[in-house]
Symmetry: C2
Subunit: 292 residues, 2 copies
DNA sequence: GCTGATTGATACTGGATGAGCATCGATGCT
DNA sequence: AGCATCGATGCTCATCCAGTATCAATCAGC
């Protein structure tokens, strides 16, 4: 098999067509160059250079090998660069999972920041339902996820991204739908639409904590996993809900979003597995701005 | 710079993910493989494999290098093949020069034969006037030319391709134009259109020899270099001419081609320079059929 | 819980490889 | 004829690489 050294030597010689100068350029003396070229020719069984004892010329085969060898040397240098870049996380792929709710909000800005700060990283997006995020991270099926903070310690790391208040969603025909600001206490008797706590404990606790602070425990009429579905059910008149403020962007006929007079902030952030060794993660996390 | 050996070893290891089996596959023992991989990692400053003391896994950088290395090894093997092929003439380029007259005749069949017998050779065609053929060959501006045989010995080699008789060209209005076969002697008093002898001595001698055998020396009215021009001038009524029979294919209104009762054969063939070291030449010449 | 097997890493040694030095042979120029 | 240039060759020495023997760590099974 052709050796890198042989290609180097041959390319230098083919470039200069002069054994002495090529050797000098390679920081070796002339005899080893002569010998390496001779060995290369013998190995290939091909005369690469016509030595006229006063001038050196490439044969047809020599010209062909010259072109091939230059490409291979360039590919070698590139392989080295690319491998180093990959190890440093500047080059690679990151799989980001998120629920559709997050797409309304911080995702576009986040992707722009990453694209600008780490152009070599390809981000693969995957929309999922919130219940599978933790498993996907733990099993290595995804590298990053946009989630609420984790309530119980685990092997999942978390870095805050942004925080937003809750807002109320009411059916358009609801008696409170005309308010511009709402006191949560007014919803004490309303049927609530929520979601199972294990889907997003932090958000669930924020919603219930908000109600408790206003002196009531919400009457849960329906439970579903997706915030979008909650809003849809509200629009159908099946109840009311407290959802993250960014859900406003849904613009759904039949549902009205109303600011709360006093609301807790609900935080979301990036989660990743402690076992994930994707070298792009530190770079992306460092690029990610802290919550405002 | 990355060494071929390192790439080989690394690819085998990345394929098997097992030092022992990879070493066996490489026909070496395990310790040198461990060392080479360690050296590669140190040289790159990158961890390519995660050794879990019970399993070996590629890191992100390792996967990247694996892909790059496989491509490079394939390119190395290809470079070797291609260089050998080029040296043996199976791969390469040949420049073929010819006068337009030859294109009427043997060129298509010749190119088909070559294409079939040596598909790796690219033939570059160049149409020229006959006077520059010898110089172009001698100066290495072209590799092959379709020419008449050379009258004087030179550094140009020659291999016959085909032979054909002469035929007469007369203006359509000429008194002899209705003949289907012509005795050259009948043209003794006609004004002849020919070409300078140095353009194609063999053809010139054939034309003049033909006349002399029939007892006359042609009266040269006009001289021009191209056979096509000769036929054009005949069509204009400026004289008569003897041209290679394949010129019939010109199909020019105003000119009539008539077989000769008794004609010499004029031969054409492939010429090339003795100094031309294009390794494709022997192959193409061997493929070229002898004249029928 | 201990023993044996497996797996990768390390110390050491011998053979191969490659670079430098000196020199030769051939060619071209003065 | 003499000198300079250029690539090839003989020789020596340092380096590199593969093989042998061995170790440390881990896992399986009794």
């Amino acid at each position: 098999m052709l050796e890198t050294r042989q290609l180097h030597y041959f390319v230098a010689l083919a470039d200069t067509l002069h054994f002495g100068r090529a050797a000098e350029q390679l920081h070796i003396t002339q005899p080893p160059l002569s010998r390496q070229i001779a060995a290369l020719e013998q190995q290939l069984g091909v005369t690469l250079l016509a030595r006229n004892s006063r001038s050196v010329t490439l044969t047809a085969a020599g010209r062909r090998l010259h072109a091939e060898a230059r490409q291979i040397l360039a590919a070698l240098a590139q392989a080295e660069r690319v491998t180093r870049s990959t190890a440093q996380g500047e080059l690679g792929e990151v799989r980001l999972s998120f629920t559709m709710a997050a797409a309304w909000n911080v995702l576009p800005a986040l992707l722009k920041t990453w694209q600008h700060g780490a152009p070599g990283i390809t981000v693969t997006l995957r929309e999922v339902t919130p219940d599978v995020l933790a498993d996907a991270l733990a099993r290595g099926e995804t590298d990053l996820a946009i989630t609420f903070p984790w309530k119980q310690p685990s092997l999942l790391h978390y870095q805050p991204l942004f925080a937003e208040p809750l807002c109320a969603v009411l059916p358009a025909a609801h008696r409170l739908a005309q308010h511009t600001t709402l006191d949560v206490a007014l919803l004490a008797q309303e049927p609530f639409i929520t979601f199972p706590r294990d889907v997003a404990p932090a958000l669930h606790d924020a919603v219930f904590g908000c109600c408790m602070e206003h002196g009531f425990a919400p009457a849960i009429q329906l439970e579903t996993r997706l915030q979008q579905t909650i809003v849809n059910l509200v629009a159908e008149g099946l109840g009311v809900a407290l959802v993250p403020a960014s859900m406003r962007k849904m613009q759904l006929a039949g549902a009205v979003f109303i600011d709360l007079a006093r609301s807790p902030q609900v935080e979301q952030g990036l989660s990743w597995s402690a076992h994930n060794d994707n070298p792009c993660l530190p770079l992306l996390l460092a690029l990610t701005p802290a919550p405002s």
